[in-house]
């Protein structure tokens, strides 16, 4: 459905997007994940034809976006990071306008009603957009992207500024869209991608850092459980005794030396097992008191770092 090959976008000498390639099939929901300035929005703007690229190619269905812009744009519904709304129009007028703008030919009233029902803005149709709350503005923005039943729907941070309830609703909406559309969404909320997407593309500094199925990412997250333990005693002896344990896959000591409060150790277990008991027994046996212990759950940064580390390792092996 959508094919991006060796996409490069340069601003002067700076690369905003550097050699990005991916292919997205029909009905797939793909999440773009990455820190600010990673190039997510730039890639989306290029796919939708708002920006042009320096080199590479971007094909929607069979239409190249720069060669056949009109045909390609007909297949895409786009919600930019800021919903493109006219405050002086009512929701109904605005959607009528978008309907005409996209040159749709089917029954207008029925189609707009359907879109309003899907996005739950039926009651808001006669309100001025100026008077809508942020959440409703976002929904009108999504409705706008759905008009004309485009095959590809691109949503740039669709849940920013929504309250938790609205977030869940929008996620459910996106999941239901995936049944007969190809959906690309960008976000920096990990749980959102996990809840909604089939596949995740992680971007960093204009490059693709990882392109994985969601199950694989979840596996990576739950595969390790990390403990942060403060133990008083000789650093080297403790380090050796912990790494000698069978259930420990990785251990790292903090920089603080022999402080009365204990030294911080970061410990990862094998296969995500709970090893708090083993650590306690070990320390009790060695007479090195535990001053504090907490479980650290993997954050987006950890997953991100893990994935990028893994890729670097793979590359190293290939060489």
């Amino acid at each position: 459905m959508l094919k991006v090959e060796n996409l490069v976008k340069k601003y002067g000498e700076k690369y905003a997007v550097n050699d990005v390639s991916f292919e997205i099939g029909d009905g797939e929901i793909v999440g773009f994940l990455g820190p600010n300035g990673a190039g997510k929005t730039t890639v989306m703007n290029i796919i939708t034809g708002y920006l042009s690229y320096t080199s590479g190619s971007c094909t929607v269905d069979v239409f190249e976006i720069l060669e056949n812009p009109t045909e390609a744009k007909k297949l895409i519904g786009y919600l930019p990071d800021q919903p493109p709304l006219y405050p002086e129009m009512t929701v109904q007028e605005y959607l009528n306008f978008v309907f005409e703008l996209k040159g749709c030919t089917f029954n207008r009233k029925k189609h707009i009603m359907e879109v309003c029902e899907v996005t739950k803005i039926v009651d808001m149709r006669d309100r001025l957009i100026r008077n809508l709350s942020k959440g409703y503005c976002q929904r009108v923005g999504i409705a706008q992207a759905l008009i004309g039943n485009p095959k590809v729907i691109i949503l740039d941070e669709p849940t920013v500024g929504l309250d938790p309830k609205q977030m869940i609703e929008v996620r459910n909406l996106i999941r239901s869209l995936g049944r007969d559309h190809t959906v690309i969404l960008s976000t920096h909320v990990l749980s959102e991608v996990q809840a909604v997407c089939d596949r995740i593309i992680i971007m960093n500094k204009g490059r693709i850092a990882a392109d994985e199925r969601t199950e694989r990412l979840t596996e990576l997250m739950s595969g390790t459980r990390r403990l942060q333990v403060k133990i008083a005693g000789n650093k080297k002896a403790i380090l050796d005794s912990i790494s000698a344990l069978d259930c420990v896959s990785y251990v790292e000591a903090g920089k603080d030396m022999n402080s009365a409060d204990g030294i911080t150790f970061k410990i990862e277990s094998k296969n995500g097992a709970d090893i708090r008991k083993e650590i306690f027994e070990l320390c009790a046996k060695n007479n090195t008191p535990i001053m504090g212990m907490e479980t650290v759950t993997s954050s987006l940064e950890d997953v991100f770092l893990n994935l990028t580390k893994e890729i670097a390792r793979k590359k190293g092996k290939n060489r």
């Binding site: 812009p69 009109t70 007909k74 930019p80 006219y86 306008f97 996209k102």
Partner: protein
């Protein structure tokens, strides 16, 4: 393209801008009309009315064009228009036509003074006004309006601040309008020729004297075309930047 045109026209009337434009235009041109014809006594002249009308058009046009592109850019609605299946020339053309429609209707209504005056005067035969001069000037002003609007759109595309856009348009219009007024201070013939060539005022003076100057009409129309072409190029360039 029709969708953008309709929305643009509609937006003139959902914001005060359209009403302000129409009211100010009519008030100013009616005042000018009275002062130059009905109340001017022996000095009354239809030509000086049209000279003032030219000024009024130049002063009022920024009201129509100041927000055309700058507002879209500020609200980011530009992204919707540029990612929809509408070509850039159609996008710019629709914006132009919407502002131009506003101008033409407002201007033509303000011209209703003229037939009434001519009908009234032919009965009483107080002064001799030339209807042909009036008609020629009206046609010229319709094209002058197109030139000013296209210029305003071009400047509006350069900034996302409406005030900058309005002031910029006023300044540029003033330069175009009055380029030849500087001639009396310039002692260099080629420069004088260039200035009167680009001046909208000196070209319009021909119509005032009763000479239907087709070259001037072509100048106004091509000026409008060039401005719109440059606007399209600005958008094209921004995509590639």
């Amino acid at each position: 393209m029709i969708a953008i045109y309709k929305r643009e026209l509609y937006s003139f009337f959902t914001t005060p801008m359209g009403y302000v434009y129409i009211a100010m235009f009519w008030a100013a041109s009616s005042f000018a009309f009275c002062m130059t014809t009905l109340l001017a006594g022996m000095d009354s002249s239809i030509s000086s009315y049209f000279m003032l009308e030219l000024l009024i058009i130049a002063l009022m046009t920024p009201l129509l064009t100041m927000k055309s592109f700058s507002e879209e850019r500020k609200l980011k609605t530009e992204q919707l228009l540029l990612t929809s299946p509408v070509s850039l020339p159609a996008f710019v053309g629709a914006k132009f036509l919407a502002s131009y429609t506003m101008f033409v209707i407002t201007f033509l209504v303000s011209c209703l003074n003229l037939p009434i005056m001519f009908a009234y005067l032919s009965e009483n035969n107080l002064y001799q006004y030339n209807a042909a001069i009036a008609l020629g000037s009206c046609i010229a002003l319709l094209l002058v309006g197109a030139a000013f609007i296209a210029l305003g759109l071009l400047i509006s595309a350069l900034t996302e601040n409406q005030m900058v856009s309005a002031v910029g348009t006023l300044t540029a219009s003033a330069v175009l309008l009055g380029a030849s007024l500087a001639n009396s201070y310039i002692n260099f013939a080629p420069l004088r020729m260039v200035l009167s060539w680009i001046s909208i005022y000196s070209r319009f003076a021909n119509f005032n004297k009763g000479y239907f100057d087709i070259a001037a009409l072509i100048y106004y129309a091509s000026f409008a075309f060039v401005c719109m072409f440059v606007t399209v190029r600005i958008y094209e360039k921004r995509r590639w930047a």
